[in-house]
């Protein structure tokens, strides 16, 4: 063995459509087999990976545009012992199958939570105080022509009902309290460590909230958790903020509630069929629309890089994972 041979880099499977800047660093540390640039169908790609002289023990995957890491996938690459998900969600990974096979799983932990909470608070202020709408007014040259922009409504004293008091919901609550908002919430179970008022159903939460915030994961239980009944309970002065998933809300019902004035406004970062946004919303001044960007700042990208490389390095050196999901 000659001393000039470079160290053999461990093989890493990569399932992510859009290249991030730190992927170059991954290529320096690992022998990366990238599915989306291979151009091959999944079956052939996995077969080739499994036949690699050093078959991959780890996989990096995003949510959304990635394939499912299910039984068939795991069968095709039996060398796989660790899955790292860069996204917030885990619905594309069959956790039970991974647990059964002793495959460890880690995700990006809380790297996005602060930014999503900040974006949600920013949207809430925007809707109540009409920031984006008033900006359009100014940019169209209407201020000299039409005088003052119509008045918004005060934040202080508003009851903010948060669906899902996880990391993001808790960070939002802390921020909104400083604005004088009153925090209400619904969660699978009440949280003993908080003094916010708990509601057993989302309907009850909506009926005693001025702002309803979707901050929960998407699951069978939370699919269309904000539906016609909840919107009716929220009422004509209520507003909805969604920084969860588009499917948490019955989008058609939301659009008609807004069109008919049955609720007062909305701030939406996510939609049922992104990047498609219902056209009816474009003519509304009481909605704020963003392109599923609540998580994406330079800072969270840097934290994601640290979490990805940190967890991979931990796995390959036999150390405890930084942000494990499995083993629990």
């Amino acid at each position: 063995m000659t001393s000039s041979e470079p160290p053999v880099l461990p093989t890493l499977l990569m399932f992510r459509v859009r290249e991030l800047r730190f992927h170059a660093e991954l290529r320096e540390r690992y022998h990366v087999l990238d599915f989306f640039t291979s151009g091959e169908p999944l079956h052939g790609f996995l077969a080739a990976a499994a036949a690699d002289p050093d078959p991959p023990r780890a996989l990096v995957t995003a949510g959304g545009d990635s394939v499912s890491v299910d039984a068939a996938f795991l069968d095709a690459v039996p060398s796989l012992r660790f899955v790292f998900s860069t996204g917030a969600g885990l619905d594309h990974i069959d956790l039970d199958e991974c647990a059964r096979r002793g495959v460890a799983v880690a995700n990006s932990g809380t790297v996005y939570s602060t930014d999503v909470a900040d974006h949600a608070v920013g949207m809430l202020v925007d809707v109540l105080r009409r920031v984006s709408a008033a900006e359009r007014f100014v940019r169209r040259g209407l201020w000299p022509l039409q005088g003052d922009y119509p008045l918004g409504t005060k934040l202080g004293g508003k009851r903010v009902g948060i669906i899902g008091l996880g990391n993001i919901g808790s960070l939002m609550a802390k921020r909104l309290e400083a604005f004088g908002c009153v925090i209400h919430y619904n969660s699978r179970k009440p949280k003993e460590s908080v003094s916010y008022r708990y509601f057993t159903t989302v309907h009850d939460l909506a009926s005693e909230s001025d702002v309803l915030v979707v901050a929960c994961v998407l699951s069978k239980e939370t699919h269309h958790v904000v539906n016609r009944d909840v919107l009716d309970a929220l009422g004509k002065d209520g507003i909805v903020i969604n920084i969860g998933r588009g499917l948490n809300i019955d989008e058609a019902e939301l659009v008609s509630a807004l069109a008919e004035g049955r609720i007062a406004g909305a701030g939406l970062d996510v939609f049922e069929k992104e990047p498609k946004v219902p056209a009816e919303l474009f003519s509304m001044d009481n909605v704020v629309l963003t392109h599923h960007c609540a998580a994406f700042t330079k800072e969270s990208r840097s934290d994601l890089r640290d979490a990805t490389i940190g967890n991979l390095e931990a796995f390959f050196s036999g150390k405890p994972l930084l942000t494990p999901v499995l083993p629990r």
Binding site: V125, R129, T290, H291, T297
Partner: protein, 321 residues
């Protein structure tokens, strides 16, 4: 106060106007065409004992107006800023002046923080992007914005509004520093005092103007301060347009010497320079810091209460002079 002759200088608020009409003897300055205002004042001078004015660029209360109204006793400002009122002339003439502090503190602070987040996270810009159909067209190639939480916030003027801003940004883990004319006797253990405004800018990621407008604070956001704030810094102005060297601000934003801005006030409202409108790194608001239904009613009620107290020779609620 049915016999109190009140001159309203410009339209402010429907409720306020209706109440003044109902409870006083109201005259509206804009009933006279612009070129006949002098005649109008002359014709009504003997009955005008009170003036009500706002806080924007249209506001009045200068020496010329005061001199034209020999029976003037009180100027009630529907605003917390009274920079347009000639206080010296008022003192000479024994004219009282009131404003509307306190009731609008929360709203202005809310908007200041809202503008900071809007500028750093580019929320209005994203909203324009989506409405223009660009999300669908570009499918996700937008770029990363800048986190707000944890950014160093510098506040010029730690008065009521400045303190309310500090309290809100603390919830985001932002360290707070401040500058003001006189270091407070009361210590703020969580906030760092800096002895010059340029040092404050150098130590801040987000700089908020929350002080009153007077001789010393005029143009406080100077070329030197903007340079200290720098290409990644964001300026938020909820004070007065005159706090800022506006041409310098516009140039700095356009050239990238200043990272961004959230502006609620401008030099010559309601005119906003075309050069500012052309920029994507600025959020523009039409002087709406106190612009909520709840607060404008509270401000109107405070103006009315001050006028009534004056009419009844009782102590004014919120006097400036």
């Amino acid at each position: 106060m049915e016999s109190l002759g009140v001159l309203l200088l410009h339209p402010l608020d429907t409720y306020l106007e209706q109440e003044l009409d109902r409870r006083c003897r109201l005259l509206r300055l804009w009933d006279a065409p612009l070129d006949r205002r002098g005649e109008f004042l002359l014709a009504h001078a003997s009955s005008i004992r009170a003036v009500v004015t706002g806080g924007g660029s249209g506001a009045g209360g200068d020496a010329a107006l005061i001199d034209a109204l020999p029976r003037l006793e009180i100027i009630a400002c529907y605003a917390v800023g009274f920079d347009r009122v000639d206080l010296t002339r008022c003192r000479e003439r024994g004219v009282r002046v009131t404003n509307t502090p306190g009731v609008l503190t929360d709203d202005v602070a809310d908007l200041a923080v809202g503008l900071a987040i809007a500028a750093l996270r580019r929320i209005p810009h994203a909203d324009r992007y989506v409405r223009a159909g660009l999300w669908k067209a570009n499918n996700g190639h937008y770029g990363l914005t800048t986190q707000f939480s944890g950014k160093r916030v510098g506040i010029i003027g730690l008065g009521r509004i400045g303190l309310a801003i500090a309290k809100r940004v603390e919830g985001f883990g932002c360290p707070v520093s401040y500058y003001q004319r006189t270091r407070q006797q009361q210590a703020y253990p969580n906030y760092t005092y800096l002895p010059t405004v340029v040092q404050l800018a150098a130590d801040s990621d987000v700089l908020v103007v929350a002080c009153s407008l007077n001789e010393q604070s005029h143009g406080i956001v100077s070329c030197e301060l903007i340079e200290a704030l720098g290409p990644r810094g964001v300026l938020v102005n909820v004070g007065r347009g005159e706090h800022v060297d506006q041409p310098e601000l516009v140039a700095a934003l356009a050239e990238g010497r200043l990272g961004g801005a959230g502006l609620d006030v401008f030099e010559a409202e309601p005119d906003v320079p075309e050069a500012l409108m052309a920029l994507d790194n600025v959020v523009l608001a039409p002087h709406m810091g106190s612009g909520t239904r709840e607060t404008r009613k509270a401000m109107a009620d405070l103006v009315l209460a001050n006028l009534e107290a004056h009419a009844l020779s009782k102590p004014l609620l919120t006097p400036v002079v």
